[in-house]
């Protein structure tokens, strides 16, 4: 019996196959395991090591490097209070003091009810709404002491369950068709790339020719315009591809 659930194991194996070297999947696998348990249990570390072919000490060593991976148990909610410059100027330290008091634990600790773990964080890239707090990587801006208390009440009451999943969950909607990019998709992308490149080259050549001729030949002008138009068309096609890929759910844009 493995510690990781069958579903997690399945996804883990798929991830491992994505990379030329299994060990490249180490960090993604840590996130997977953390999604299951909220933190990286020793059992999970041992299984990840097995999956990617390194020693458990190496998994632990790598995981301990990253703040988003926890090698100690954490509460259901990890509350990260930004203390970087923008937030600091707008009262982050006072807020942090309040958070600690309200939750009954200091930075790095977990509240007595086991629900909340407090962290101080560097800039969360939400400076426009400073001071800012992230709960399980979902952002809450313009946080005051009162708003924080309300947020805690909401979380405890389960009113925010849709927006704030348990700790460890990075995304809640996955791409269809698993993690692998299909071979045909890759081939299509390659073809499009080649076409774009060819078109761009043709345009360049045509332009150069036109200049070399140094004549305001109407026919040459016509050709150059055509080529430029073709290149634009290819760019648009690429943009559409990118839009297709962005189907993960956006982090909840909370606030109280």
């Amino acid at each position: 019996m493995s510690h990781l659930s069958d579903d997690t194991m399945d996804r883990a194996r798929q991830l491992v196959e994505l990379y030329p070297h299994p060990r490249s999947a180490l960090v993604p696998l840590c996130h997977l395991a953390q999604e299951q348990d909220g933190w990286l249990t020793p059992e999970a570390i041992a299984e990840i090591a097995e999956l990617v072919g390194v020693s458990p000490a190496e998994v632990h060593g790598t995981a301990s490097f990253y703040d988003m991976l926890h090698t100690e148990p954490v509460g259901r909610y990890v509350v990260a209070v930004c203390t970087n410059i923008a937030c600091m100027l707008r009262g982050a330290y006072e807020l942090l003091e309040h958070v600690e008091q309200r939750l009954g634990t200091g930075v790095g600790g977990t509240s007595p009810d086991g629900l909340f773990t407090v962290e101080d964080a560097e800039c969360l890239a939400d400076c426009g709404r400073a001071p800012c707090v992230a709960v399980n990587h979902r952002f809450f801006g313009d946080v005051t002491a009162q708003r924080f208390d309300a947020l805690v009440d909401d979380l405890v009451a389960g009113r925010l369950d849709d927006e704030v999943p348990p700790h460890g969950t990075l995304i809640r909607v996955r791409r269809h068709g698993g993690l692998r990019v299909g071979a045909d998709q890759v081939a299509a992308e390659r073809r499009a790339m080649a076409e774009r490149a060819a078109a761009a080259k043709a345009a360049e050549a045509a332009e150069a020719e036109a200049e070399a001729a140094a004549a305001k030949d109407a026919a040459a002008e016509e050709a150059a315009k055509d080529a430029a138009a073709a290149a634009d068309g290819a760019d648009e096609a690429h943009g559409a591809d990118e839009a297709d890929e962005a189907d993960d759910v956006r982090p909840a844009d909370g606030g109280s």
Partner: protein, 982 residues
């Protein structure tokens, strides 16, 4: 093959054609180097030391600590670059002492000390610490940091032998790199980030490596300390001597350190051909066992009451002499048997061989305990050197797990497979540490000869072998020649439950099919190869000659040699049980622990009329002897030892043996005297001189050669017939930062120097080498230089065979004692083209005739037929483990806990009827010989139908463990599993 991942942080030096030379200017001096060398090493060779922490000459550079920054001219002016990470290129201009460099060094050291606790007064490393030393030499002198340092609980154990002090760690990465890169067990790694970086183990898995002690040796600060050494000494308190580890047959070079006749520690010396500075933990820490209170300190004699009581040497020796003489007179010399001798130095072994074969006249002598290979096969196989094995195209392994048998050989071969492109194919019924690196071909125990034959013929996949593995094995082999060119075979005993004839047949098959292949016999006892070279085996005489080939030569020198071949260990134990063995001498042998058939060993010791044990401990077998004679152990004696490849190195005495111990050779000489024969040895040097004079394999290897600094790494024998492999360049001096403990002690006034009992102050002159080379060719050459001595010693150094006329009855009957040996009559027939000086009586001019030819032919080794398995469906595989119940581990408080439990491993499918796959359960294993109760464990790597049990590992109430199940004559052992009522 190994994981092809290339970790990008390793600098890769460009490939260079041999012979290419680049010129580098270092501080204005032009220095020549070969391309690909790293700047730090080139500078060091040129006499410019660049400070460093993370760089270690035996590991890949990582450029992590920045201590080695130097200025290197480039297109954009001079820039600071790490010398350890920079391969030299032609025209490179380097400055190592500019203001900019000094400022960089100041900065690096100031930063390293920001969090360093500076608890030098209570730190093991204090006085030999590269951080201390380099801060003093290159540091700014004072720090601008006044902030609180980081604090951590300390020390924390990372293994049973190593403690970690995270506050002292400077994150050089040497230890974690050693674990990942050298030993291949990345059980320690950095954890955390920024100033919170720490070396850490995974909480559920300690750093259980067999090689953990090396991390302590290379840690450049006191962050890693060894539990056994902690707080025992300071570098300025200790003395040291260079010696050879004799815990196994690899013979790693070591520095042995002691304080006031108390062993403190052993450190690895960098010997390029052998251990490249690494040691295994058993070798490193087992020496401490010598100072155990359990050591024997006085002779013991069994009294009429049946008790072993302390006695005087005189009483003990005359008892032994009287009983041995009586046995010889009443039952003939062949009724005396001698087991053991692999613990001895070459000189001790030679003295005991002469006592047994030349004085007592018995050929029943065996330095192996039924756990090795036939002696003539070992000597007859074309031997590989360790470097041959490391550079082989393909290594074929048919032996026990090399990591357990010859641990540091595993490191060398692992490196060859992982980094050097050597392919490796292992045959066996359970994959070993080497097989898991490349190709492991699983087969049923007992089938090895057939599988080997198919492999050599590159034939079809034999029955019972996985076709996929077979395909991989054949493809690995494809890089080797049809005739075995480029192949090195490691041949040993994959299982002690398999008769040695199976292993012998396997080796014979491979040697026959691959005439160009070379072999390394995986025998692990300390000086087993030296003992074999000294003739401690049935049918052999010193110098790798057979009894028949050497009869005339040695009868002339010794007065007599046995007429017929004698018994091996199993034969002697068998003879003891049927009453034909009258006396048994155990020289550092413990058949109860080591002989594969515990039942036979038990019965033999029970029934042998007279047993003498010559030992440092009262081993279980010694406890059953009639007389026990105490002798020195490792580091308490001097002499030479011979390793697995035939390398003769010096063993130096550092400690005085406890109590009244007498060196083994003295015991032999004293016994001989009491048997009426004076052996002419008054020192170890006398013995070596005689070996050099008489042995065909050691001709030319005089004391002055052995003692010269240029031969510090030892000399490969046999010398005769091979090009002289004497080194002309002294090995590099001890690296102060790579192995700080050795160099610092030297700096404190205890130089690292090994010598024979009477060192000659060895000359490093070419003349010594020339003289040795001449002697090997059989010519006479004088050493003219300094304090050397003639390579072919004059008559006064020659042996004086059987000086006295008071021989025992049988010796007298042989007619030898009165006549000076080497009498022309005995030798005439051989005098034709011989060159070397003959053994001669005192004062008479040396005769000229030929030394006997060394054994070259391989003995026949027929493939034994396997018995039917009726009713006993599981085949037993008994594997040796590094730590077992042997006495050196048993009495060692730090190692005893590392002995694995007595667990039987099965393929899950074989265990399924009785247990869930992950449950361990108590079962009984029953063979035709006996029953043992063990814990059963499922292990998917074990082949179906096989049960794997560690050998000489006791477990509760199962005294004798696996050896209870094994019969000495069984070709293979089949067992069945019985459940035990809970």
């Amino acid at each position: 093959m190994a994981d092809p991942v290339v970790t990008s942080h390793h600098a890769r030096a460009p490939e260079a054609a041999p012979g290419d030379v680049v010129r580098v200017t270092i501080d204005g001096r032009v220095v020549e180097a070969s391309p690909g060398q790293f700047l730090i090493a080139v500078a060091e060779q040129a006499g410019t030391f660049i400070p460093r922490f993370c760089y270690h000459p035996r590991m890949k550079p990582v450029g992590m600590c920045r201590m080695c920054l130097v200025e290197v001219a480039g297109p954009r002016g001079a820039t600071l670059q790490p010398a350890c990470y920079l391969p030299v290129t032609d025209g490179m201009e380097v400055v190592t002492t500019s203001d900019k460099v000094r400022k960089a060094q100041d900065g690096v050291l100031e930063f390293l000390l920001v969090n360093h606790p500076l608890d030098c007064p209570v730190c093991d490393k204090g006085g030999e610490c590269p951080l201390q030393d380099q801060v003093l030499s290159y540091g700014p002198g004072e720090s601008r940091f006044v902030e609180e340092k980081r604090h951590w609980a300390k020390p924390t154990p990372i293994s049973d032998l190593v403690l970690l002090d995270r506050e002292r760690c400077i994150q050089c990465g040497r230890c974690v790199r050693f674990a990942a890169e050298v030993s291949g067990e990345a059980e320690i790694d950095f954890a955390g980030r920024g100033d919170q970086v720490e070396v850490a183990i995974f909480e559920k898995q300690p750093f259980s490596s067999y090689f953990s002690g090396n991390t302590v040796q290379i840690c450049p600060v006191g962050a890693l300390t060894a539990t056994p050494y902690r707080f025992t000494a300071r570098p300025w308190d200790v003395e040291q001597v260079e010696s050879t580890c004799t815990t196994c047959a690899l013979g790693c070079r070591v520095a042995v350190q002691s304080s006031a006749n108390r062993f403190t520690r052993m450190l690895g010396v960098d010997s390029d051909p052998v251990n490249q500075s690494w040691l295994c933990d058993k070798g490193r820490f087992a020496s401490a066992s010598a100072s155990s209170p359990d050591r024997l300190t006085e002779p013991l004699v069994r009294e009429d009451s049946g008790e072993l009581r302390p006695a005087t040497w005189e009483h003990a020796l005359s008892t032994v002499a009287r009983r041995l003489a009586a046995a010889r007179d009443e039952h003939g010399a062949a009724s005396i048997g001698l087991i053991g001798g692999a613990r001895l130095t070459n000189e001790d072994a030679y003295a005991w061989c002469r006592l047994a074969k030349g004085v007592l006249g018995t050929d029943s002598v065996d330095c192996q305990l039924g756990d090795g290979l036939p002696a003539e096969l070992v000597l007859g196989l074309p031997r590989a050197t360790l470097d041959d094995a490391r550079t082989a195209k393909v290594v074929v392994v048919v032996s026990g797990d090399v990591r357990d048998e010859l641990p540091v050989l595993f490191l060398r071969l692992r490196q060859a497979v992982v980094d050097g492109g050597t392919r490796l194919v292992e045959l066996g019924s359970v994959p070993g540490s080497l097989g898991t690196l490349d190709v492991a071909v699983g087969h049923r125990a007992g089938d090895a000869p057939a599988v080997a034959r198919a492999l050599a013929a590159r034939g079809a996949c034999p029955a019972g072998v996985d076709p996929v593995q077979w395909g991989e094995a054949l493809s690995a082999l494809s890089v080797a020649g049809e005739d075995g060119a480029g192949v090195v075979v490691l041949v040993g005993r994959p299982s002690l439950a398999e008769h040695s004839s199976v292993a012998a047949a396997t080796a014979r098959v491979l040697a026959g099919a691959w005439p160009a292949a070379r072999f390394l016999p995986v025998l692990r006892r300390g000086n087993v190869f030296g003992a074999l070279d000294m003739g401690l085996a049935p049918g052999l005489l010193p110098g790798r000659v057979t009894l028949d080939a050497g009869r005339d030569w040695f009868s002339a020198a010794w007065g007599q040699v046995p007429a017929r071949s004698g018994l091996d260990c199993a034969g002697m134990l068998g003879a003891a049980t049927d009453g034909t063995l009258a006396a048994l001498v155990l020289v550092g042998a413990d058949p109860l622990g080591d002989f594969p058939d515990r039942g036979l060993a038990d019965q033999a010791l029970e029934q042998a009329p007279f047993v003498v044990a010559v030992d440092g401990f009262l081993s279980p077998s010694a406890a059953r002897a009639d007389v026990v004679l105490p002798v020195p152990l490792a580091h308490e004696r001097s002499g030479t030892t011979t390793n697995v490849e035939g390398r003769v190195t010096r063993v130096a005495q550092k400690l005085v043996a406890p109590g009244q111990s007498w060196p083994d050779w003295v015991v032999a000489v004293e016994l001989a005297a009491r048997l009426g024969c004076d052996l002419p040895y008054s020192s170890v040097s006398d013995l070596w001189d005689e070996i050099e004079q008489l042995s065909s394999a050691h001709r030319g290897l005089t004391r002055s050669v052995l003692d010269s600094l240029a031969q510090r790494d030892g000399v490969l024998v046999p010398l005769a017939g091979t090009p002289v492999v004497l080194s002309r360049r002294p090995p590099a001096p001890i690296d102060p930062i790579a192995t700080p403990g050795i160099e610092s002690v030297e700096r404190q006034g205890a130089p690292l120097r090994a010598g024979l009992a009477e060192p000659l102050g060895g000359s490093d002159d070419e003349a010594v080498v020339a003289a040795a080379a001449a002697a090997v060719r059989g010519e006479r050459a004088e050493v003219t230089a300094g304090r050397g001595e003639p390579a072919e010693a004059g008559p006064q150094v020659g042996p004086e065979p059987l000086r006295a006329g008071a021989g025992g009855p049988e010796t007298a009957a042989a007619g030898a004692p009165a006549a000076p040996a080497g009498s022309p009559g005995a030798l005439e027939g051989q005098a034709a083209e011989g060159q070397a000086a003959a053994p001669s009586a005192e004062g008479s001019p040396p005769e000229r005739h030929q030394r006997p030819a060394m054994l070259r032919a391989l003995p026949e080794a027929p493939v034994p037929a396997l018995p039917p398995t009726d009713g006993y469906g599981l085949r037993l595989v008994a594997r040796r483990t590094l730590y077992d119940d042997g006495v050196a581990v048993d009495v060692n408080e730090h190692l005893a806990s590392l002995v694995p439990p007595l667990q039987a491993r099965f393929h899950p499918a074989d265990l399924a009827p009785s247990a869930g796959p992950e449950r361990s359960l108590r079962i009984r294993l029953r063979s035709r010989r006996g029953v043992v109760t063990v814990d059963a464990l499922a292990d998917p790597s074990v082949a179906r139908g096989t049960v794997v049990v560690p050998f000489n590992v006791g477990g509760d109430g199962a005294e004798g463990g696996a050896a209870r199940l094994i019969g000495a004559d069984d070709v293979v052992v089949d067992v069945r599993m019985e459940t035990v009522a809970p």
